[in-house]
């Protein structure tokens, strides 16, 4: 080998070495402690601590319940065992740790877990309502900074403690978190709840003109999960919650396209029986108007609905269809007015009227410097509702 060849070889080697630098961050999938779901509960006594005595937050301590995927046991397709362990082996491990801050608790979790904690597949974060009521600020900061966390993850408030929700194993699915996720995803698809995810919460939380909402769920009989409605926030504190009717009103007012709630109205001329109708889709226009420089709102809503069930023997006709439409309009309006009244009492503008003032009437918006300022104004805001429900179809029955 002469010098020229050696030189060429050396250059080649030097050029190839940079390709190896990718190995610094090599982490095989078996070496990851993939966390699928996380529940956060408040805890006062016996708080563990690893990050030192200065670890402090708004709350005394947090209990983290994590659902860690066991490598090779997550079923990939429908049915059939995949990987080792057989069909009876549990695909996830549930771990619980406490800490003075969220990061403290995560560090504690890491102490017990051989694999590096990995949040890239975190799909759901459940937060106890007690924590939400004392403020989400210190709960969410860790997740905001972590680059692995995706903004599309669900952030959910639980009635009662959050841990059991993550631990619950419904019979329908082998991976509890994925089941929980599919509950939420399907609820959005069917128009039961608005699509409010983690990133959405962050954006509304930062805004000075709107308060956030989050899905509100509860657990009953230890394994069934039920969507209660929406948790209403004021700034970062949860102040109240909307039940299913309130959630329907919220979605009508914000103009979520999908409508999913059914409701019953008395059959015209036959008050002993009822007709149940279900919304199919809707359209909402929020118009800001001014009266002597003071803004007020006209909310125009149009909903289309179908007849789902009718008890009694009254035969359908054009007049009755119209009457049912009118009756349901009245019913929904009453519900919406009740919801708005309740929101005004909590002083929480979750519908986002403030955004319209900020966007379309900036001269007026200059007076407000924080969400508290605006919420005070919102409590006295004049909001006029105009609703029009059109009954379109009666299903396969002609009567």
């Amino acid at each position: 080998m002469n010098w020229k060849q050696l030189y060429k070889l050396l250059v080649c080697l030097i050029l190839v070495t940079p390709l190896l630098t990718g190995c610094w961050d090599r982490l095989e999938i078996e070496e990851r402690g993939t966390i699928l779901g996380l529940a956060i509960d408040p805890i006062v006594k016996n708080v563990q601590n690893t990050t030192g005595p200065f670890a402090k937050s708004d709350f005394a301590g947090y209990k983290l319940t994590a659902q860690v995927a066991i490598p090779g046991r997550i079923p990939l397709g429908p049915g059939g065992p995949s990987g080792g362990g057989g069909p009876t082996a549990k695909p996830v491990l549930i771990m619980s740790k406490t800490g003075k801050t969220i990061d403290d608790a995560v560090n504690n979790l890491q102490q017990e877990l051989a694999n590096r904690v990995f949040f890239g597949h975190l799909r759901i974060i459940v937060v106890n309502q007690t924590l939400a009521k004392s403020g989400m600020q210190d709960v969410q900061d860790f997740f905001r900074r972590n680059a692995e966390i995706r903004r599309l993850a669900w952030l959910i408030i639980s009635k009662g403690s959050a841990g059991p929700i993550i631990e619950a194993t419904p019979q329908l699915s082998r991976v509890p978190t994925l089941y929980l996720v599919s509950i939420m995803d399907n609820a959005v698809r069917m128009g039961k709840i608005p699509n409010v995810f983690l990133g959405n919460f962050w954006s509304t939380h930062s805004s000075n003109a709107r308060d956030p909402v989050l899905p509100f769920i509860s657990l009953y009989k230890k394994e069934r999960i039920e969507i209660e409605g929406l948790a209403v926030f004021k700034g970062d504190r949860m102040v109240s919650n909307l039940n299913q009717l309130g959630t329907a009103a919220y979605m009508e007012l914000t103009g979520e396209h999908k409508a999913g709630y059914g409701f019953a109205v008395p059959v015209p001329g036959d008050p002993k029986h009822s007709a149940t109708i279900k919304g199919s889709n809707r359209k909402t226009k929020i118009k800001l108007r001014k009266n002597n420089g003071k803004p007020f709102f006209d909310v125009y809503m149009r909903a289309e609905a179908n007849l789902e069930e009718k008890t009694g023997k009254t035969i359908n006709n054009v007049r009755m269809m119209k009457q049912i439409g009118k009756d349901s309009t009245q019913l929904l309006l009453k519900n919406q007015e009740k919801t708005i009244k309740m929101l005004k009492e909590c002083r929480s503008d979750v519908i986002g009227f403030g955004e319209y003032v900020r966007g379309e009437y900036p001269e007026y918006w200059r007076k407000f410097h924080s969400i508290e300022d605006w919420d005070r104004e919102f409590a006295n805001l004049d909001i006029r509702l105009h609703l029009d429900v059109e009954l379109r179809r009666t299903g396969m029955s002609s009567r």
Partner: protein, 372 residues
Amino acid sequence: MNKPKIVTDLQLLMCIATTVIGVGILAFPRITVKYTATGAPMSTFFGFLLVLLACVTLAYLGEKYPKKSLFEYSDLLLSKWVGGMITLAVSIYFIELAALAAREFGEVVITSVLPQTPLEVTVFIMLILAVISSRCDVAVFTRIITFFMPLVYFPALVIVFLTLKSASLTNIFPIVNVFYETTWTNMLRSSLTVAAVLQNFLIIGLLTPFMYQPKKAMKSVSLGIGLAGVLYLILIFATLSVFGFDEIKNLLWPTLELAKTAAFPTLFFERLDPIFISVWVTAVFTAILSSYYIALQGLTHLLRFTNHKVFTFILFPFVFILAMQSANEFILYDVIERIGLMGLPLTIGFPFLLFVIHHMKNLIQSKRGTKL
């Protein structure tokens, strides 16, 4: 010096459109929103207009001096000494720009994808890649950059399209907000920051003499920079409508966060941010390559070398050391903003100065002509 005719007008167009898109696209929504809130699209537009004007000036000069590069006709117009000084300043400035871009790139990569890899290694590899590529001649240089253009534009547009679902129209109003939330000085500052992100446009001056038809430069340059401007506007509108201005202030890299919000409706391909990052790396590469190339050409011209390859590896350690200067992200972004604004008189003022002098010379010459 005889220059081969190798660059077509379409190549010039694609080149300009790609070089001005660099690391800046990740952070510019935050910086503009910091000054102008919802006026950010407007200031982006103003910044773009300023750069467009400078680009058109360069194309015009390129047509008037079809056989000379920017540094050559600046010598002709400004005399050897003044022209030389400006050339030196431009070269040093673009060395610093390349260094800052490499550093910003390193910070993004470490925070978002490769937390264990040392910063020096990420920056080193990106720089060495640019250095090796910069050894080629103009033909290859334009081809490299042209090649990457669809790779830069297409994914960015796809991501914006996929995030439209969570966009809200009220977030972008009021578009004109200088009378309520911000002042004209903030508007100016924000526009200038956007212009500073686009500074690589100076590459036009180095490519026009190699064109088959320098007369077509005007059209390709304005279309090319127009494409880039449209992409920047789309990105600012998308980030603003998805996050709202209050949230953008909280995000270090709003555009990256936008990619994290995008999701394919199917299960297999849910996360898009790793794809976005890998694509964005090519955008950063072309930007660093062009900055480095401008600096190289400037120095080559200044020292009257015939070949710029000598400098490629000599400059490399300087760029690397410059890139390692800032202690943390906050200092880095402070430096990036300041250096960007400081360089504007140089990069944007330079073509305008040449334009004015070109016309003054013509005027004097024609007056002399009539007297005689």
